[in-house]
Every structure is written in structure tokens, then in C-alpha cells.
């Protein structure tokens, strides 16, 4: 599935819910399925700073594709991390670098997109893009 296809799928899934509570229930559930970061990777260099909750995000580069794992001490944050991983994991650096990232707005989680440090969503997206960018540069130089 392409990045855009996953995004459409997620938007579709969330469109079933009229109620914010159902949406959060679903998010909490998804938080439980996040591909957990290896405990040894839960270190400061994988910690995303500036979040209300602590979020660790790690990446791995295999056969031209990037795979992400994550964890957070807050469940909702984990759910959001999982959404991001569903969208971006298993794609090439270039695909990730070029992807649009405003889909959280479309699924009605706008409150998690505020341009502040109060939650780490934008920082997570930024971090994912940074990882991708780094691998892209590495690819070119190798």
C-alpha cells in the first residue's frame, strides 16, 4: 500500500465514528498494537523532547525501506504513534520525505496538531521525516 492509500484507509476507518469517545477508544486500542521499540532502544537519543508524555521513536533501514518502532508512557500518544507508523513504516526514504502529513487533521484529531510542545505529535512527524532524510542522504552517498 502506498502512503496515501494507508492515509485514506485510516481516514475511512475514523469516519465511522460520530462520537469523539469512540474515536479515542479506537485510538487507545491501536495504542496497544504499536510495534514496540526494543527496551534497549528506549534511550535518550530516541526520546522525542518536548512532549507532555515521553515518546521514543526508533528506525531501522532494511533493503531500501525504513521501519519504525515506538513507545510512550501515555496510551493516546502510543495510538497516535501507531497511526504514524502504519502510514510511514515500510516505505522508502524518498516516499517519506515527500509525503503530506496533514491527515491527522482530516481524521478529527486536530487537537493533537497544535504547534506547541504540549504533545509530541508534530515532533514525531518531524522526527520521522528527519530519519528518512538522513537515510536518503546516506543512500546518495553510498
Amino acid at each position: 500500500m502506498t502512503i496515501n492509500e494507508t492515509i485514506d484507509q485510516i481516514i475511512n476507518e475514523f469516519s465511522q465514528f460520530d462520537d469523539w469517545m469512540d474515536k479515542y477508544n479506537y485510538l487507545i486500542e491501536m495504542g496497544r498494537s504499536v510495534p514496540l521499540i526494543d527496551e534497549t532502544q528506549k534511550n535518550d537519543s530516541n526520546l522525542i523532547v518536548g512532549c507532555q508524555s515521553r515518546v521514543w521513536l526508533s528506525s531501522e533501514y532494511r533493503d531500501g525501506l525504513i521501519y519504525f518502532t515506538a513507545d510512550s508512557d501515555a496510551v493516546i500518544t502510543k495510538g497516535i504513534a501507531f497511526l504514524l507508523i502504519r502510514v510511514f513504516s515500510g516505505h522508502t526514504p524518498t516516499e517519506i520525505v515527500e509525503a503530506e502529513t496533514d491527515f491527522l487533521d482530516k481524521i478529527g484529531l486536530r487537537e493533537h496538531l497544535s504547534p506547541t510542545r504540549s504533545n509530541g505529535l508534530l515532533s514525531m512527524v518531524k522526527q520521522i521525516k528527519l530519519y528518512a532524510f538522513a537515510y536518503q542522504v546516506k543512500e546518495k552517498n553510498s
Binding site: 487507545i28 507532555q52 501515555a74 500518544t77
Partner: protein, 410 residues
């Protein structure tokens, strides 16, 4: 104790237009008053009226509007002085807020009096704003920062404090009321101990002026900093009380504007206090708003405010204590209407997010008190900080919300 009727509270609530708005379709329950309080109509109108009718730059203008604005500005200085019972209006300096007032003293006092080897005492209970500027002053001058520890109840440890004071101590910087736990510190007593050893006391009153009367002469403190926006006044203004003798000796902080007496490229001399510490065009409009906030508080009276807030505090405390899995952080003997708590196994961010969707605004996180959180061994709390316009009904809503949070994340 006075009796407070439902009608009285409703009529007070009507003074605050924002309290009738809704969030996600639910009535706003505003429990983030320690972050910033809401504003009564009289404050909002004071600002608008100033801009509509009276706006001018103050000082030195010979024209009517400027003189009128200057008079109103200086009258408000007198009003603030009376509100905290300063010895003279010249002891009141208008700043942008508490943080700036603290930075001003940490810098100006530090430059004037601090030497290598001196010590400054701060507390583990305090807001970053009352720690980091002192830390920086110490670094600049080669002085040492010493920390007054906090008891498990969330109070300053006075025994240790007594032991920390010595002839090298050049300042004790503490808060009046802790924004994180609600602890009311015994300022008068600490000033007594400190002055016995000729040590001045700086009080961060950011949370102090909204919950009860402040009398700087009675407590004897040397400095007292506050923010208008935390006492029902506008943002962008606040102040510093400082004893004349200190202010007169201290170097100026920011430079330019009315604080200047004479300038040549060789040498600049400065105006008298309080002007010496007020650089640039003052924020006259918000000073008018601050004046209106003081009028409003005087009109309500501390009796009403304290009765209502104490009722909310004890009701909320009791109900939260009855809830399984909820733990209130700190149990100081003297406490303002601020409650920090954690819910077992549930992250404050998760809980806060859900409460928000129910229209309940609480603050979550470390409340700019990371050292305190470290001492307490937690990452943060949920904090419900209440004001006289809150109601028991709102507390009930929060409790129902917490119940929902517990079910959701069970």
C-alpha cells in the same frame, strides 16, 4: 465565616463572560486558574475604554491626553501599593509579569551585591522562573546556589533552611504559594529567621495575590513579585514590590526611555525609583486593566474569596480522597485552592485529554517545577486550580470525568 448563596456565585460568574462559553458543546469548566485567571467585564472594559478615549504615551508629554494618562498610570501605582501595603508607591515597579520581576531582581541585585563565594537559597518547591534566574546570577558571579528541600507533605523544610543560612547567604528566594501543590509558605516566619541574620528575602508572589490579602510590611519581605494575569487582570503586566533602600542601591536593569536622566556618549545617569527600573514605553492600557482587577477584588472582598475557595478546596479534596486510585500530591498544613493529583496507572496526558473533551480544563505536566517533580519521583500531575467563580457542581463534573477516564483506560 460568611454564608455564600448560589445566587451570589451566579452573579459573580456573570461578571466573567468566558465562563458561559462551551467547549466541544459542553459548558466550560475552567480549573486552570493557576496558569491564568479569567477576566471580569470591568477589566476588559477598562482596557477598551482606555484605547477608545484616553490613549497616550505617558511622562514628559505636555498635552492633555498624555498628562491624563500619566496621572491615571501613577494613580494605579498607588492602588497597587495600597493593595500590598507597600510603604510608598515608589516601591512599586511595573514589569511584564512575575518572571520579568524575578529576572530584574536576580540581575540588578546580583550585579550590585553578589560576589564570588556568596550563596543564594532557592527552594525545591519553586517554579522554574524563581530558580533559573538565580542560578544564572550565581554562575555569573561565582556564587553558589543552595536548595531548601521539601518535606514529604510538600512544605519547605524549615529546619534545614535554618541550617543553610549563614554569613555568606545573600538572598533567600521563595514563593508565597506553590503553583504545583498549593502550599502556602510561612513568609513572615522565614523573613523573621532571615532578617535575624541580615539576609534579605525575595518572594515570588505569582500565586499569592489572588488567594488572600498580602501585606508586605507585615511579612517584612524585601521583594515581592506578581503577575496581573494571575489575579484577574490583563496579561502583559505585573509588578515588583521592593524596599526603597534596596531599589535605590540596585543597578538599573533594562535601559532606555523614562528611566534615563541624562545621556551623553561618555556617561548616562538614571532617574529616581521607581522610574529607574521602568525602561521603554510603559504598558499603560494593561495597567488600567490591573487597576480595575484590584478594584474588583476589593469590591468582592477577601472574606468572600477565601470562604468560597476554601469550600471548593475542602470539598474537592474530600471527594478526590474518596476515589480509588486517585492520589493527591502534597498535604501542607496551609494550602490554597490548588490540587495536584495522579491517577494510578493512567498518564496525566491521557487523563487530561479526555477531561478536555468533557469541557474540563485542567493542567497536566510538571507545571514548570521539574526539580519538585524529581524530588517527588513523578513526571507530572493533573492540576485543578480553582478560583472563587468555580462551583461544587463543576467539581462534581470533574469527578465524573475522572471516573470516565478510569473506565476508559482500565
Amino acid at each position: 465565616m460568611i454564608e455564600i448563596s448560589e445566587e451570589k456565585i451566579q452573579s459573580v460568574r456573570n461578571d466573567f463572560p468566558i465562563l458561559s462559553r462551551s467547549i466541544y458543546g459542553k459548558p466550560l469548566v475552567y480549573f486552570d486558574n493557576a496558569a491564568t485567571t479569567q477576566k471580569p467585564n470591568s477589566v476588559i472594559d477598562a482596557i477598551s475604554n482606555y484605547y477608545r478615549n484616553d490613549n497616550a504615551n505617558v511622562h514628559r508629554g505636555v498635552h492633555y491626553l498624555s498628562q491624563q494618562a500619566t496621572a491615571a498610570f501613577e494613580d494605579t501605582r498607588k492602588k497597587v501599593a495600597a493593595f500590598v501595603n507597600a510603604g510608598s508607591p515608589n516601591e512599586i515597579i511595573f514589569t511584564r509579569g512575575a518572571t520579568e520581576a524575578i529576572n530584574l531582581v536576580a540581575w540588578s541585585y546580583g550585579e550590585t551585591f553578589l560576589k564570588a563565594g556568596d550563596e543564594i537559597l532557592v527552594s525545591a518547591l519553586d517554579h522554574h522562573s524563581n530558580i533559573v534566574p538565580w542560578q544564572a546570577a550565581c554562575e555569573r558571579k561565582g556564587a553558589h546556589l543552595k536548595v531548601i528541600p521539601v518535606t514529604p507533605e510538600g512544605e519547605l523544610n524549615k529546619e534545614v533552611l535554618a541550617g543553610l543560612m549563614n554569613e555568606r547567604t545573600k538572598m533567600i528566594a521563595i514563593s508565597h504559594i506553590s503553583n504545583a501543590l498549593g502550599t502556602i509558605n510561612p513568609i513572615r516566619e522565614i523573613v523573621g529567621m532571615a532578617h535575624g541574620m541580615n539576609i534579605p528575602v525575595f518572594v515570588d508572589g505569582a500565586q499569592g495575590l489572588s488567594h488572600g490579602p498580602v501585606d508586605v510590611q507585615d511579612s517584612g519581605c524585601d521583594f515581592y513579585a506578581f503577575s496581573s494575569h494571575k489575579m484577574y487582570g490583563p496579561m502583559g503586566i505585573g509588578g515588583l514590590y521592593g524596599k526603597t533602600s534596596w531599589l535605590e542601591q540596585m543597578q538599573p536593569y533594562q535601559l532606555g526611555g523614562e528611566m534615563i536622566d541624562k545621556v551623553t556618549f561618555e556617561k548616562t545617569t538614571y532617574n529616581e525609583i521607581p522610574y529607574k527600573f521602568e525602561a521603554g514605553t510603559p504598558n499603560v492600557a494593561d495597567v488600567m486593566g490591573l487597576g480595575a482587577a484590584i478594584d474588583y477584588l476589593n469590591m468582592l472582598g477577601w472574606d468572600f474569596i477565601k470562604t468560597q475557595e476554601n469550600d471548593l478546596l475542602s470539598y474537592a479534596t474530600q471527594r478526590l480522597q474518596q476515589m480509588e486510585g486517585v492520589r493527591i500530591i502534597g498535604s501542607p498544613a496551609q494550602k490554597a485552592a490548588i490540587i495536584s493529583f495522579v491517577i494510578d496507572g493512567i498518564h496525566f496526558f491521557d487523563a487530561g485529554t479526555i477531561l478536555d473533551h468533557l469541557g474540563i480544563a485542567v493542567r497536566t505536566g510538571n507545571h514548570c517545577t521539574q526539580p519538585l517533580m524529581n524530588v517527588l519521583g513523578i513526571n507530572g500531575t493533573l492540576r485543578a486550580s480553582m478560583a472563587f467563580y468555580n462551583t461544587r457542581g463543576e467539581i462534581d463534573k470533574m469527578l465524573a470525568g475522572i471516573q470516565q477516564v478510569k473506565t476508559l483506560f482500565a
